[in-house]
Symmetry: D2
Subunit: 182 residues, 4 copies
Amino acid sequence: MTRYHQPAPELVIDRWFNCEPPLSIGALRGRVVVIEAFQMLCPGCVAHGLPQAQRINDTFPVSDVVVLGLHTVFEHHDAMSPVSLQAFLHEYRVTFPVAVDQADGSDIPRTMRAYGMRGTPTLLLIDAVGRLRQQWFGQVSDLTVGAEIMRLVQERKLGSELTWPEDNESSAALCDNNGCSI
Amino acid sequence: MTRYHQPAPELVIDRWFNCEPPLSIGALRGRVVVIEAFQMLCPGCVAHGLPQAQRINDTFPVSDVVVLGLHTVFEHHDAMSPVSLQAFLHEYRVTFPVAVDQADGSDIPRTMRAYGMRGTPTLLLIDAVGRLRQQWFGQVSDLTVGAEIMRLVQERKLGSELTWPEDNESSAALCDNNGCSI
Amino acid sequence: MTRYHQPAPELVIDRWFNCEPPLSIGALRGRVVVIEAFQMLCPGCVAHGLPQAQRINDTFPVSDVVVLGLHTVFEHHDAMSPVSLQAFLHEYRVTFPVAVDQADGSDIPRTMRAYGMRGTPTLLLIDAVGRLRQQWFGQVSDLTVGAEIMRLVQERKLGSELTWPEDNESSAALCDNNGCSI
Amino acid sequence: MTRYHQPAPELVIDRWFNCEPPLSIGALRGRVVVIEAFQMLCPGCVAHGLPQAQRINDTFPVSDVVVLGLHTVFEHHDAMSPVSLQAFLHEYRVTFPVAVDQADGSDIPRTMRAYGMRGTPTLLLIDAVGRLRQQWFGQVSDLTVGAEIMRLVQERKLGSELTWPEDNESSAALCDNNGCSI
């Protein structure tokens, strides 16, 4: 009855805003990680995705849930440079950590490619042992997101008092010195 | 570390809409019960509370979560009779079961009084063993509601595969032939 | 170049709320009259029509524009009695005058029939000489409503300093001691 | 009874998007001109100002009302270059003409300074003879904007069939070969 979930690919990042030192999925093991993949000139990200990420950040305690932004630029690269992003984050009062996905010479940056994202906004939920549990492209309701985040929080809390067998296995494969990866 | 939660007072109902036969908290044991206490002429209920209840109803499977409306009229009694309520439910396309809280000769109807509600809208969350777990007066965000509902769903699912000691005790006290009560 | 506009049928009213003494279209000659025809249990009226009417009331000076509500009940008559309406107006803080359209033994009340309304909400604009100039069924944008109201206000203001020939004719036919009528 | 209105300062523009050839207030004489001054990274502009400008553009016939955007960057200049603006206009589907206000070596660009704007968004209404009639900083309701635009449209239409004395005077001063200026 245990479904198998893929380990979440590690973030490959050029630069971080709103955090010091750099974060990684591996370093956040033990907490649920919510990643909002966005582009600063994507209307759906600005109107829906980022405000929802900020609400998640403001609703759950950081000891349970960590919210990250991921700037996955796959078009208009000149228009969405880190300089523009920094001004954007300042003006839109985004307070959670935001990472710039690393270009690989193609239009699609590395982390975006690793997750097979179809576009922006994409919302990722990663559980406390580093497995990718949800990946939504486009809008998803707050009710659903709140419920799915709590599902992962509760798994951890209720599971850790008991035994959670599949964790022990998968955790070995998930992380090395550089963070967690496939 | 186990917090004590009060058993949810049983509903005292004059009449049901959208369901056959009548429901009770006792009869819904095993599922999470969400109750939206409202008045049909309460603007906050119409604009926020009831649409949120409908979204909850549409988001969670009825095998896990049951949504009920509770018409707790404490003012303008002549204006919010069951005849008016029936038209209201029809026009607003409320599809989940709605109960009319029973008057006791005072302004405050019986179930509203039993829960110590401060007004409408009030949203109640009752867990799968019949305990009152949340009672919000006024607006509460979808993120929080979604998370708190899933907390109760997960307790049941994860708990029932293990042992959930406080359930066995409290369940005895919660229910009799007439439903669940203190 | 002068288009012919029908005189607005006079209101046939059972009862007024929020005003003393009763109003009529005839008595409001010289001002633009905006009428929001609604039913208290019509979701589109509650969500859009009435808030828009209140915004109109709050935006334009009453010396230029008078906003009236018209309760045109054509279904669920028992559920939308004057007693229910009074509570509704109180709870929804409707401050402009509201008239109850007079039943004629059929489902459709008299004023609603006289205007040939197709349902609720319907927004009527009547110019300063009592002619029906706009009749919108359903939603209409604030931009359009604001513009069309000002069109009528400006006609009056700019027109009255000049001569406004068609007024003199039509005004004779519009009004008698009982108000203005066809 | 005639109030004096200032001639609207002419636009001083580096570059136009969505139009060919360049526009000017002078060249638009005879029509009402609505100018939305914005910055692409100003949240209030993106959420309210630009959608309102687009609605105005879609509501009024272009023979009566011309809507222009004016990119008045006074902060984060590197982040809001014309390259970034072009991508922004594409992604946000802004279809009306947009001008880039010309820098003068200070933080405040030339047109913004000439109008004494306090920030963005600022909405300007210019009448058919080139006078500045409204200048709103921040949000203003669609009802008010619709009404004030129609006031200017009607002045023109009703006025031109009569005589509109102050126009003749002021129009002489407003325009030369280069457009209209003070």
